[in-house]
Symmetry: C2
Subunit: 337 residues, 2 copies
């Protein structure tokens, strides 16, 4: 049974110390983490602070299955939290990472996930500086859950926020919608579309960096659970503005369009893990769109609508009709992220 | 079923928004959290920085049962992470809090736990500034797991670390040992000692603050999973020093002493949730001990041994004998915290 996680791996003794050293320290190694104090010690000079405000966020990840085309729970845990930090304008710099492991989890699966986290973090120049490991008995959790929290510093001149949105502003999405949600749905419902669907799980800071110089940017948000629709409702609640979307303008891959037609679902409610919604003043919208299109991860960016003074969200169909976009009580699927 | 958590509560739609507003925002309310951005925005001025280094830590909490004498999983989640931050000398200021909820969890249980977190945070002047909620289907987790991460700023003049320990330094514990571990063990094994055992779950920063002015303090660590024994082994590994402990000097309540004799276990391996180990230069040890004794949570502080040049940890018994203290491969119990 040495190829599987045992309760001893979480109990504060030798077995846990060995797991920490041979798995987490080995893959995540950096000067802060190897000190193995109970807390990371981060000199403010490491933040390259040009501003005086930190961005701080957390997410837990419980996605099922833990491996999927385009990613795994580890890559998701790194970029999911990094993206939440980045939406403030901050470059994500430091992450914490805490594992809840089910007794019996294959050590080889854990190692694949930890290696994937290390690769994702390294590619985004993010350091995992503190962590925690818990093990629960078989049946008390499903395989593994990962929590990450993250830190960055917001540049002085950036004050983005949903409360800044004004009527007339344009809505830009950074690429095709619903890829992550459709990928997980296909695996879980066995729809047989493997090979055509890939999660969009990716780091969004490069797109944020491209938008930093554009003064008309009001706010950004990554469209995860609940999709673009949930973001529009959050923006309506914070700004008091309504929004009109153009169904024809929504960028969708043929496979996602297919899965939606097959199941009668709406891609605008599907989760993304590498797409952001930007609200930009009308006069700067084209510049923002071009900046995104010239950045990796933003080639298929599109203007999909605009803010107005109505207190509702509507979507125009290609035949000239229009319908209200309600926020569903829930998404069709649990454990999407 | 509206009195229980459903999958809809975690799916990014209306039900989740309602839970966030009526539970988390209601109890944790503060100016940062109510903005409901995807990240907390923390001006550095809020850190009251006298130093230039942040302390940053995380822990997940999976304790079973979720309610116990002296606390619950929520109080544990607040003070557990706050204490890890505090051991650096930093006052814990901000926490993130992320919930993984099992479908079917009673909303009344969740509310009790959230209220307990709010009370614990408020009493320690800590703000919960960002969070996350996930729901997994019944059977994919056991009731609820909570992750917290925490931030504070380390005062300029403080540079504590296990690598500073020198032979001759004294080992001080802040009070009776093993209370949390014995309390959970009693509940789980139905030993019938209710009424005599209470978890020591508490905020340790007041003790830390009392130690800040004492120049001979080398390092602090809270003795959680693995107990004081695990801390001594970590200190040995970081400092190269060995330690000799005096069994007669270990502060134990009669109930913990009884449970150890009953089961043939060693309280030095039991988890604490409100006790720290301080290593202090010999000439300042008495001053440190008195400072702790005069602070709430430190009345039963005791010097329990000293550092030496041997590369081993030994414990002297009252009859003059001495034995090696090995680090067990694992603690007797999973899900202690």
């Amino acid at each position: 049974m040495t190829d599987r996680i045992t309760l001893a791996h979480g109990s504060g003794g030798k077995a846990m110390q060995k797991l920490i050293e041979e798995m987490f320290i080995k893959y995540f190694s950096n000067a802060t983490l190897v000190q193995q104090e109970d807390q990371a010690r981060l000199p403010l000079s490491l933040f390259n602070i040009t501003g005086e405000t930190l961005a701080y966020s957390t997410d837990s990840f419980v996605v099922d299955p833990i491996f999927f085309p385009g990613g795994d729970i580890g890559k998701l845990a790194v970029y999911g939290t990094a993206n939440d930090v980045a939406m403030s304008g901050a470059k994500p710099l430091f992450l914490s990472s805490a594992f809840i492991l089910e007794e019996g989890l294959l050590l080889s699966d854990l190692e694949k996930i930890v290696a994937s986290m290390a690769k994702a973090a390294s590619e985004a120049d993010i350091k995992i500086v503190t962590g925690d490991t818990k093990v629960v008995p078989k049946g008390a959790a499903d395989k593994l859950f990962i929590n990450t929290s993250g830190l960055g510093a917001i540049p002085t001149q950036i004050h983005w926020g949903a409360d800044k949105i004004q009527a007339g502003d344009k809505i830009i999405v950074s690429g095709t919608l619903g890829d992550h949600g459709a990928t997980i749905l296909n695996l879980r419902e066995d729809l047989g579309l493997e090979g055509q669907l890939t999660s969009d799980c990716q780091h969004l800071y490069p797109l944020v960096e491209a938008l930093l110089p554009i003064s008309g940017v009001r706010c950004l948000r990554d469209a995860t659970r609940g999709g673009v629709n949930a973001v529009m409702h959050e923006f309506m609640s914070s700004s008091g503005c309504g929004f009109e979307l153009d169904e024809d303008a929504l960028p969708l891959t043929p496979a996602v369009r297919g899965i939606c037609e097959l199941l009668g679902l709406d891609a605008i409610n599907f989760a993304n893990e590498g797409k952001l919604v930007a609200i930009v003043a009308e006069q700067d919208a084209e510049q923002a769109l071009q900046a995104m299109k010239q950045t990796a991860g933003g080639k298929e960016a599109a203007i999909i609508g605009y803010a107005n003074t109505a207190n509702q969200i509507t979507i125009k169909n290609p035949f000239g009709g229009s319908r209200w976009l309600d926020l569903p009580n829930s998404e069709p699927m649990p454990r999407i992220c």
